[in-house]
Amino acid sequence: MTDVHAALVRAFRDEWGQVVATLIRLTGDWDLAEECAQDAFARAVRSWPRDGVPRRPGAWLTTAARHRALDRLRRDVVGEAKLREVAAMTFPDDEDFDDSGVPDDRLRLMFTCCHPALSLDSQVALTLRTLAGLTPAEIARALLVAEPALKKRLVRAKQKIRHAGIPYRVPPAHLLPERTPAVLAVLYLLFNEGYSATAGADLLRRELSAEAIRLARVLHRLMPDEPEAAGLLALLLLQDARRDARVDDHGDLVLLEDQDRARWDHAEIDEGVALLDAALRRGAPGPYQVQAAIAACHDRAARAQDTDWPQIAALYGRLASMTRSPVVELNRAVAVGMAAGPAAGLRALSDVDLPGYHLLPATRAEFLRRLGRRSEAADAYREALRLVTSDAERRFLTRRLAEVGCAP
């Protein structure tokens, strides 16, 4: 019985996206596809405990969902033409059936969900709903929006896909370079939603990270020649490897230098590093590969003091030239400070323009503290405290302020 339950949970996680994607391709109707997939899983819950888990759960579920779609269309007069189409569609069970050269409906679905004509918010919400099978309530909670607003967003996105004629296909080769980044960005956002976990909501959020890693694996398997897809998967693995050591028993953030490195997931680190090395050998480094290289520098240091800071500073320099992001400039200044001392870090910080972002004054405060310029450090900590929003970080900054403030 527990085996059957585990098989059901696994089937939902692994097969949901594929079942929905196949039904969308067959019927062209997103809502019908979701309802039929739900119905197929409900059937599995009833019949697997009785008849046993089928040898190929994915094929079983797809067939059940397709039968359900045929039933629904049969009752629907306007669906008649569609019915003939779906009924006539032969249904080879093997993976080799494909007309686009890309052997996966999920990839087509991913590119449809992440079409640049949809807002980024809608792209994330649709990916979570359609590919990961999360409920609107779960997505609303994960993205910190009200459930009715989220539902409205999903309805609008599906309507736009249908009415504006957004195609269900992997774009032609010449459009891939400009669309792959949108897909990668959504997967990265999805991962970050799970990674920036705080106590309370963290169970669901860890699931989001796991889902992002799973989808990044699908993308990498289907686009093995795209080094940034490999770079993203490597980055997610190398960051996820530190998840258990990032938060202490009180739910406070543990800084990288203070983390118990024995609690890092070393199998995940090895896999991430191997992926990254293979991607870098292709000689087309992009922002995800560079970020993965930075994460790998941290993950490979046995102790915090073994970290290769000059290498990290150089990588941030490379990343800054690719992204022109002031947050990256800030990180570069931190790495310079670690590699060449707080005075050099402070100099690197003087060019960074990030109004309203608490980590800028917090970083300046840290350099000033280490230079022994305590009153200037205290001013910078106070400025950071005015801007900070997370409780864990506020506690950390308050502690630091007390340290510099109480000293003579």
Binding site: A117, K160, A164, G165, P167, E178
Partner: protein, 107 residues
């Protein structure tokens, strides 16, 4: 599918009044994609196309800035939104103003 292309220009649009359309009309007439007029689907189903530094930028919805105004329109018929965007991004006005792509109500 049928799409209306709403061509919007900012203050610089006047400078382009005498530009002609760089062979766009001729190419699209030859492709047989130009049509007449009809009612449009609501604005939230619009996609706005801009071309800047040879990069095609898409936005979800009508995003003409207030200083930009509709200066003209074309009705086209083509396979899907990707083709409509390709057609819109070839229009010279996309490189200085923007073009809102609105699907029509299907009969």
């Amino acid at each position: 599918m049928q799409y209306m292309l709403l061509i919007c220009g900012g203050p610089e649009a006047a400078e382009h009044a005498e530009d002609g359309c760089g062979g766009w009309s001729e190419e699209m007439a030859e492709r047989g994609v130009l049509r007449g007029g009809a009612g449009l689907r609501p604005p939230q189903e619009a996609t706005t196309v801009r071309v800047r530094s040879d990069e095609v930028l898409l936005s979800d919805g009508p995003f003409a800035e207030t200083r930009e105004q509709v200066g003209g329109f074309c009705l086209i018929e083509c396979a899907d939104l990707d083709e409509a965007v390709e057609i819109a991004s070839k229009h010279p006005a996309a490189t200085y103003g923007s073009i809102e792509v609105r699907p029509l109500w299907q009969p």
